[in-house]
């Protein structure tokens, strides 16, 4: 026996059973640490819940600003409102401000007689208003979504003209623009990113993979304002030279650059799903004489198909929500047109370009928040769908139980005589 061991063996005297029992009776029931643990956990729970709350708050506060227009309580009709200067004292500065088209603080700082004069002027202006459209409330749901024949027009049209004599808030052209640009972006981005994903995850050599994968993922690190800048300064003039298009900034340019913003998303998720297909599937195909290409297309791709779909769905969500590229490169004309070389205005571009300039609480402001909520709902359902698909895929690919996760399967790994010297050990080394 090791002499050092016997020498030191007596240092720790084992407790007698009675002593031990006495010690345990106090030690094991010590609750302070449990209480601290409990409080820590509760605290962390509350912080985590703020994330869930945030999603709700985003929807709530974006929709909140649009509530009057959603429930038809906003009215832009002007004929009926004529203000009596004598009643000024009884009106809030906000009401007067709205009538005059000024902010309440400006109204408050004006002397009473100037204010009365301004109100008279405004009354005269309104009386002169000959356009019958001025009597219309342009913020009803039908005016915002259905075509309308404006006076002077020959046919009903969809019009988004929030600034001008008559404010027109039909947001169908904006949705059309968003979908058009998104579609162009997806048509460009989907094939090329899926091809790259298959190549990188299945066909490329280890070295190539190490090189290409990060460089495609890094495309996501280029800020969208820089992409927009490139579209505006480089691509658009270049394409106009080559194609001779009518407008320099159009949905094609925007879609093309938007594709660059979407590619990393589609690529990353598709590549992840393809790589998550167990190696054994591929090995089985290879062992039967299939080439890497056949194994990739016939075995791995079908197994990862849901993930690839989810990648495209998420790409859609990203593209429709992208702001800076489209606001800089799409031309911002809210027209309904089929040509991909016409300018468009998307939902995001409208919000980004118009919200900073709209008066808080005005009809324009409310309608912008309304289309913001619509956009939020679109992306929300897109995300939920993609997540559902990915969740299903993950479950079908793993199927691990809780007990396995917690290392209770070690037993199984080491059970067979061959694995007795640590099956799990080998797995981690390889």
């Amino acid at each position: 026996m090791n002499p050092t061991l016997t020498a030191s063996a007596g240092v720790i005297a084992p407790l007698s059973p009675a002593d031990l029992e006495k010690e345990l009776q106090s030690a094991l029931y010590e609750q302070r640490t449990s209480m601290v643990e409990f409080l820590i956990e509760r605290g962390m729970f509350c912080v985590s819940m703020t994330v869930v709350a945030t999603i709700l708050l985003i929807f709530l506060f974006v929709t909140k600003e649009a509530v009057p227009v959603i429930f038809g309580r906003t009215d832009t009709a002007r004929s009926g409102i004529v203000m009596n200067p004598a009643e000024l004292g009884r009106m809030s500065s906000k009401q007067v401000g709205e009538f005059l088209g000024q902010s309440p603080s400006v109204v408050e700082n004006l002397p009473a007689n100037t204010l009365a004069e301004l109100v008279l002027e405004r009354n005269k202006e309104l009386a002169k208003e000959s356009n019958p459209d001025a009597k219309l409330n342009t913020t009803t749901w039908s005016m915002m979504t259905l075509p309308f024949q404006w006076s002077g027009d020959s046919a009903p049209t969809y019009k988004w003209q929030p600034v001008g004599n008559i404010e027109k808030y039909n947001f169908i052209p904006l949705l059309w623009g968003s979908f058009k640009v998104t579609l162009i972006a997806l048509l460009v981005a989907t094939p090329i990113s899926l091809m790259s994903a298959i190549y990188v995850s299945q066909l490329a050599t280890e070295r190539m993979r190490e090189l290409i994968k990060p460089s495609i993922e890094l495309l996501a690190g280029v800020p969208s304002v820089v992409l927009g800048f490139l579209a505006l300064m480089v691509l658009a003039p270049g394409l106009k030279e080559i194609l001779g298009t009518h407008s320099m900034l159009n949905s094609f340019v925007a879609g093309l650059v938007l594709a660059l913003a979407v590619i990393p998303i589609i690529f990353t998720i598709a590549e992840d799903s393809l790589s998550a297909v167990p190696q054994t599937h591929r090995d089985a195909a290879l062992a039967m004489g299939a080439g890497r290409w056949d194994a990739a297309i016939r075995v791995v791709l079908p197994a990862a198909a849901p993930g690839v779909c989810a990648a495209v769905v998420l790409g859609f969500g990203r593209a429709i929500g992208e702001t800076m590229v489209v606001v800089m490169a799409s031309g911002n004309a809210a027209d309904l047109s089929w040509s991909i070389f016409d300018s468009v205005r998307t939902v995001t571009a409208a919000i980004a370009a118009e919200l900073p300039e709209s008066a808080t609480g005005s009809a324009h402001y409310q309608v912008l928040f309304l289309i913001g909520s619509v956009l939020f709902l679109i992306t929300f359902f897109t995300n939920v769908t993609a997540e559902y698909i990915l969740q299903r895929l993950r479950e079908s690919l793993e199927g691990a139980t809780a007990a396995e996760d917690h290392g209770l399967m070690n037993e199984g790994a080491a059970a067979s005589p061959a694995g007795a010297s640590g099956g799990g050990y080998v797995n981690t080394v390889v």
């Binding site: 061991l5 031990l20 030690a27 029931y29 640490t33 070690n410 080491a414 007795a420």
Partner: protein
């Protein structure tokens, strides 16, 4: 975790283990002569000591699967008890119940009770983290922290505030001496423990576990990932540590159970088939299944 109460089963008495000298032994290294003499007296003393762990009607469920079926057994103080059985028989699960490491498995439910020195460790007021200071554990794969050897062994001491900087140094040295590692590492206590060999790492883990002076040491196949020489060292340590600790060891290696345990419990499909002195289990098992397993007919 939910808990179902079941009435107390009366423990079945255990036959005291035979004298150590006559124990079926494939022990490594020479057996000192005086040890054999002292052993019989000590044996007598042990037979009268109440068990340190007393398991009553313990059933364990992971979700809808039942991993243990009404286990009743007593684990005697200052002895080595080996759990053997084919894989999936629940021996590791039972081991993890003994210091409530199973608490971390979601969907785990337990019925029955485990008494540790007459304290029901699944009683609601029990603080499981305090329990684990008294019932330590060594895992299948050595898992030293990516810190220095010294910090590894001192981890538990600092955690439980067992002493100041100076006494911790002594305690670390003592723990390392107990696992026969002191001479090997005393000049490089500040190097990363992950740079040691597999066997040394496992001994660091052992030292880390005994540094906090637990009453019981649970070992979950402590040598299964080690080479034969390192395994022999661990077994030798188990035999020495028995003097001060109650040791429960799960093993797949029947020779190992035979070499270093006093009692052996054989599990099969979540049932405790047989629990007796190691010699009885190996030489004259009462159950057919035990005999089949011992003779390598299954598992």
């Amino acid at each position: 975790m939910t808990r179902i109460s079941v009435p107390l089963n009366l423990p079945t008495g255990l036959v005291p283990p035979p004298d150590k000298g006559t124990r079926m032994s494939v022990r490594l290294g020479p057996v000192p002569v005086d040890e054999a003499l002292a052993a019989s007296a000590e044996q007598e003393r042990k037979a009268n000591v109440p068990p340190i762990l007393d398991i009553h009607g313990l059933s364990l469920f992971y979700g809808s699967t039942q991993a243990l079926h009404g286990i009743n057994m007593q684990i005697p103080r200052n002895c080595v008890t080996a759990f053997i059985g084919p894989s999936g028989c629940g021996k590791s699960s039972l081991l993890r119940c003994l210091n409530r490491m199973n608490d971390f498995v979601p969907d785990m439910r337990i019925a029955g009770r485990i008494l540790f020195q007459n304290q029901d460790i699944y009683a609601p007021q029990i603080n499981p983290t305090r329990l684990r200071r008294y019932i330590g554990m060594v895992f299948q794969r050595s898992n030293p922290f990516p810190q220095s050897i010294f910090d590894n062994v001192a981890f538990g001491l600092r955690l439980h505030k067992m002493g100041n900087a100076a006494t911790i140094r002594d305690q670390v040295e003592e723990a390392l001496r107990k696992v026969a590692l002191w001479d090997e590492v005393k000049d490089r206590l500040n190097t990363n423990a992950l740079n040691l060999s597999g066997g040394q790492q496992q001994r660091v883990c052992l030292a880390r576990a005994i540094a906090v002076q637990p009453q019981v040491l649970l070992m979950d196949e402590p040598a299964s990932a080690l080479d034969p020489i390192a395994t022999a060292k661990i077994e030798e340590l188990i035999l020495q540590l028995r003097e001060h600790y109650t040791i429960v060891i799960v093993t797949h290696n029947l020779q190992q159970a035979g070499r270093c345990s006093d009692y052996t419990a054989f599990f099969y499909l979540g049932h405790l088939m047989e629990h007796d002195t190691t010699e009885n289990i190996f030489s004259s098992p009462r159950e057919e299944a035990t005999e089949a397993y011992i003779n390598g007919r299954f598992g």
